[in-house]
Symmetry: C2
Amino acid sequence: MPERKSKNITRVEHRVSIEDREQRNRHKGAVLWFTGLSGAGKSTLAIALEEALFQRGFQVYVLDGDNVRAGLNSDLGFSHEDRTENIRRVGEVAALFARAGVICISAFISPYREDRAIARRAAGDKFFEVYIDADVATCERRDPKGLYKKARAGEIADFTGISAPYEIPEKPDIVIDTSRQTIGSSVNALIDFVMARLRPTDAESPHSN
Amino acid sequence: MPERKSKNITRVEHRVSIEDREQRNRHKGAVLWFTGLSGAGKSTLAIALEEALFQRGFQVYVLDGDNVRAGLNSDLGFSHEDRTENIRRVGEVAALFARAGVICISAFISPYREDRAIARRAAGDKFFEVYIDADVATCERRDPKGLYKKARAGEIADFTGISAPYEIPEKPDIVIDTSRQTIGSSVNALIDFVMARLRPTDAESPHSN
């Protein structure tokens, strides 16, 4: 953890606790941290899951390149250092959403284990690593954005899976293999995961004791 | 606006609109941007307003030095440049919360007009500037954190109101004068503001047309 630079910050205790929020929303706040290669299906699944959870009454929000790279992280490029800072900031923002009681789905390649570990530390036990698994050959065949083609042609430097490493999650909380599963069954697996882990059952609720 | 450094970002359309979120939450997403001197009452009012709005069923979350300086902005100090970056990032994060349908109350001195203008641009018409107004003499008399004393003793450099400027909002959306109003009546004024501006009346709801 970097040492915090600012001093003279006095804590004023917040009066709405995370438990208050979770009780009212009837689900836990969490970070669902999607990681995987470009083309693995992170954004597609994140957005489909957001819609499905919203329809089921959840507070849910997707962080992705679309709403982060143009704003919060508009000062960052794709050097290793900037990628690390990109992921660090997203991890912190996702943790804020989780503490606000929201299920925050982040969809970034986030190829480095250490960067993902930093994001996990920011959110603590509210963090769930979701490995969107598809091998390079599959992703390159899909190439929905034409990026693999550009990377092969040398037009994009440090492209994950081609000219930069992707470090496979060692202990992901869930793996979604999009080379074998349809989008529909992938989303259903994610909904099941959320229902099991983030929606307290009656047995867990404070009233049943 | 700084030019965005990242390229090769393809937009995947989100399927839950802000209108969907607002309709379900029964209030608008917004940024309530509290600005004012140290000791003016920003944190106290932010936290009291958060509690009051939560109790009324709102989705609401406070961003302040407590949850931002230790995490997202732990790499930033108090130089003019770092303060500007601090406020820029908070503005972007607050805008994300607003787009997620949440009323985000930010409580930072944010002494510079240009910095606040950048935060406003991030959230667009969801941004409301809330000037927590108390003069330096009043704040110095309160000095809840002992910071004015330290600043007068030269132990804190660039202290807003003493050795660094505070640029008074020119067109705040609401002014709360905490040197004349109690905390209770200040919070009530803020609740009234939220109810009037962020809670759609029947006349505005889509069903009444």
